[in-house]
Amino acid sequence: MDNPLVLEPLFRLGPVPVTAPVVATWAIMAGLALFSVLATRRLALRPGRVQTVLELFSATLDGQIRATMGRDPAPFRALIGTIFLFVLAANWSSLIPGVEPPTAALETDAAAAFVVFAATTGYGIRYRGLGGYLRTFAEPSWVMIPLNIIEQVTRTVALIVRLFGNVMSGVFVIGVVLSLAGLFVPIPLMALDLLTGGVQAYIFAILATVFIGAAVGESPSAAPRAKEEEQSP
């Protein structure tokens, strides 16, 4: 059985070894980009089938972001939606024979989680200013500073390990079952894998939303209402 923690390079581009997950990741990125360009090229007021599906997805995404962050979803829609679609496509790419999901490799998950980490810091600084964002580490009191810094690291690591563990264990279990009984037996497990992949993509995206929402804080429109409630009793 293959070691899930070590990757063998497929070929080399000069000094850079290229592994199978890298190829699959670039293929997924190219596929998603191509699909997006083709699908949004002719947008109409009376939408066709593809546009209806896209609008449904976009509206659901907006609703989720608004419900989670309590803010206008427009600045975050592109990032969260892309993360969700990429992780979903990566998890479900195991449907194609011969392709292992790139999220079953630690490096892909680390890259995705690093994007979330960078976005959290970036949005936090953009919305609160550098001083304001750094001040959130001292909330509710300065005693919490080390814990808040550790939390930034641990939740990113947890994001990596959660996605990696779920997807990789699915691939692993199918490999074990395949070596025991080849025909038809792994199919229910593969169906379960699709469910796990969808749920994990949702969780990855919603956790990214939660982290970014915590970094940017409450929306200014919600703040005065809280003040009124304080004064009213």
Binding site: T68, V161, R162, V199, Y202
Partner: protein, 82 residues
């Protein structure tokens, strides 16, 4: 029997880590889902918020089991003592 003592102990340790590491999160997730079911039954109009919070919470709980799995994999495939 060709494995060294360290390899044999590693396999047993991996099995123990996964089995006991799965116990706690399984019980905890069961409790969380039961509580969410109860809440949805009492207040069906809040089902959207409840299930979103439930999913995030389940992901958090599940992480502990995944940690155990990763430790087991490290012991099996990247053991520093073999």
């Amino acid at each position: 029997m060709t494995g060294s003592l360290v390899e044999i102990v590693s396999i047993i340790a991996a099995a123990v880590a996964v089995s006991f590491g799965a116990l706690g999160p399984a019980l905890a997730e069961g409790r969380a889902v039961a509580a969410a079911m109860d809440a949805i039954a009492r207040q069906p109009e809040a089902a959207g918020t409840l299930s979103r919070t439930l999913f995030v919470g389940l992901a958090m709980i599940e992480t502990t089991a995944i940690y155990a799995l990763v430790i087991a994999l490290l012991v099996l495939f990247a053991n520093p003592f073999v």
